[in-house]
């Protein structure tokens, strides 16, 4: 996994509440058996005017001129500014894969859906929850100045605005550590193999019917 330390980047808007995972990456693209290549289909139904198909060359498709990510001023953005309950719906990890593949490293919103929030950290993507009024203000600043950039410093847990204002954010210590170091969860967990085996042995003793049934 790509480590995340400091991200200085252009900010783009996804200005609506309850953006669901079907909107982030429609189901036809879930048929892929790969982890990469979802970027061109991020927000597919909003970005293009036609219905996208997996494996298609997106460069020839009609783009929706009204969708902000298609505006030249947001090209190359790496920070997405969003509204309440971002990422609700399915557990598809294709959603963070698509955001990451598109080039986003950080999403700022007043709230996220649980599974999506969790999936982000597994993919080097940092979701930041900020107060709803604050997010509203950032939307205002971003719309008002073209080329609006933010600096996100995970080590210091700060979002820094162009005026130098520092906004603190919360992040779970374990997730922060893994993201800073780009650590693979599985390897870390397997270091606790003995504890898992010990638990399993007593659990089997207590609940033998949970073992060996499916074979």
């Amino acid at each position: 996994m790509k480590a995340f330390t400091v991200e200085n980047g252009l900010v783009a808007p996804m200005d609506r509440a309850n953006v669901d995972t079907d909107l982030i990456i429609p189901k036809q693209f879930l048929k892929s058996i790969k982890r990469s290549g979802f970027g061109p289909n991020l927000f597919d139904e909003l970005r293009y005017l036609d219905e996208g198909q997996p494996g298609q060359d997106c460069s020839a498709r009609p783009i929706n001129p009204e969708f902000p990510l298609n505006f030249p001023r947001y090209a190359g953005a790496s920070i997405l500014l969003a509204r309440e309950n971002f990422g609700c719906g399915s557990s598809r990890e294709h959603a963070p894969w698509a955001l990451e593949d598109y080039g986003f490293r950080c999403i700022i919103a007043p709230s996220f859906a649980d599974i999506f929030y969790n999936n982000c950290f597994k993919n080097g993507l940092l979701p930041i929850e900020l107060d709803v009024q604050l997010v509203d203000r950032l939307f205002g600043e971003m719309y008002a100045s073209e080329g609006y950039q933010l600096t996100v410093d995970l080590q210091r847990q700060r979002v820094v605005t162009p005026s130098g204002e520092e906004i603190a954010f919360e992040v779970d210590a374990f997730r922060r550590h893994c993201l800073l170091e780009g650590l693979d969860d599985i390897g870390l967990t397997l270091q606790r193999e003995d504890a898992i085996r010990a638990f399993e042995a007593q659990w089997r003793e207590r609940s033998p019917w949970l073992f060996d049934a499916i074979r």
Partner: protein
Amino acid sequence: MSGQTLYDKLWQNHLIEARDDGSALIYIDLQLIHEVTSPQAFEGLRLAGRKPWRRDAILAVPDHNISTDSAERAAGVAAIADPVSRLQVQTLDENCADFDLVKFEMNDVRQGIVHVVGPEQGATLPGMTVVCGDSHTSTHGALGALAHGIGTSEVEHVLATQTLIQKKMKNMLVRIDGQLQPGVTAKDVALAVIGKIGTAGGTGCAIEFGGQVIRDMSMEGRMTLCNMSIEAGARAGMVAVDDTTIDYVKGRPYAPAGEMWDVAVSAWRELHSDPDAQFDTVVELAGEEIKPQVTWGTSPEMVVPVDGSVPDPAAFSDATRRAAATRALEYMGLAAGTPITDIKLDRVFIGSCTNSRIEDLRAAAAVVKGRRVADSIKQAMVVPGSGQVKKQAEAEGLDRIFIDAGLEWREPGCSMCLAMNADKLGAGEHCASTSNRNFEGRQGFGGRTHLVSPAMAAAAAVAGHFVDVRDWKEV
């Protein structure tokens, strides 16, 4: 010290170790696998030279993008028309063969939607932790299990370690007292709860459903309710174990038997919240007040009773919700103030892990029996949740009732719930659907979904528009 909630007990039983930073390692008893969210996990496992930790804790079944058409289905996996879908199903077959995992083949009578199959086979048992790379894993909580959806990285994590890194959620109790009116079902309860607390209302919580309505509810109904807890933002929903649960589990293929059964049952009897348990949030609804529900927008919280009308966005005081409602009405092609019963339908879908169990099909069949689907309906389909459900329904003659009424009788799978196979809505078409999500494009590009119960969907198929199933007279 106050008592423990059901969730507290399930958590405690599976806690391997808690860390200083508030995260914890918990043990997973069952992982269900389907073709869409697993290929990348198996690939990761292979790349790291790892193997599944416990193969007897895994059950796989293809469901999401297989055909529900009998002829296409009968021809086998190699005949799946869409090559991308075919590859995904084949990849599941190969992965299960390589790692020697139990998998129900596409045409096995035990095959079906993963969340219908788990409980039906007794693979899901009370007191378990159950995960699946699918958000509707919450369904299994109906058996008194801690069950939630996970992402693909976590699928790989569970395969490799039999554990999950988790933070303990908050406890929410949704209590529905009293009794439901005739014609009102678990689906209406689920939608009414979401309408009340919103799609983010349960974020960060494990919901326990309680109260007389739940005690009186069948296992099928409890599964419908727990299934939709994710639509209220909660990863897990659950119901305490009682006789209904135990009677349901008894005799299922993977359930314990003989002496082991008695030991298991005495352990399961503990699986309820203690009388003095504290919940962080309590939401209460009166059973009598719940009416049949219909969604009008593009989020499950955009819901009203069938005797209501499409709301006016201007009536929402919150700016974000107002904007969302305005956009939803535009997408749905509906005008504010339209009575729900005036909404004309193009298609009807009865199926999905929310409502494709035998009880759902019985309820729908009772409504259409002796009648005909309206001429204005282009298609009305019934997709049983599993091969077992299909077999049972056919033994009861429900298939004939549906076919005689002009509905299609399909092979089991996810089907038009998310339209990954050929079953989908055309742009602009309105669908009465018993599924769980009315998101934009969910059932097909530009498709317009209205979530309802099976009885409401069946009545709408006959009438061509929504009707209040409470007024339905049997012929």
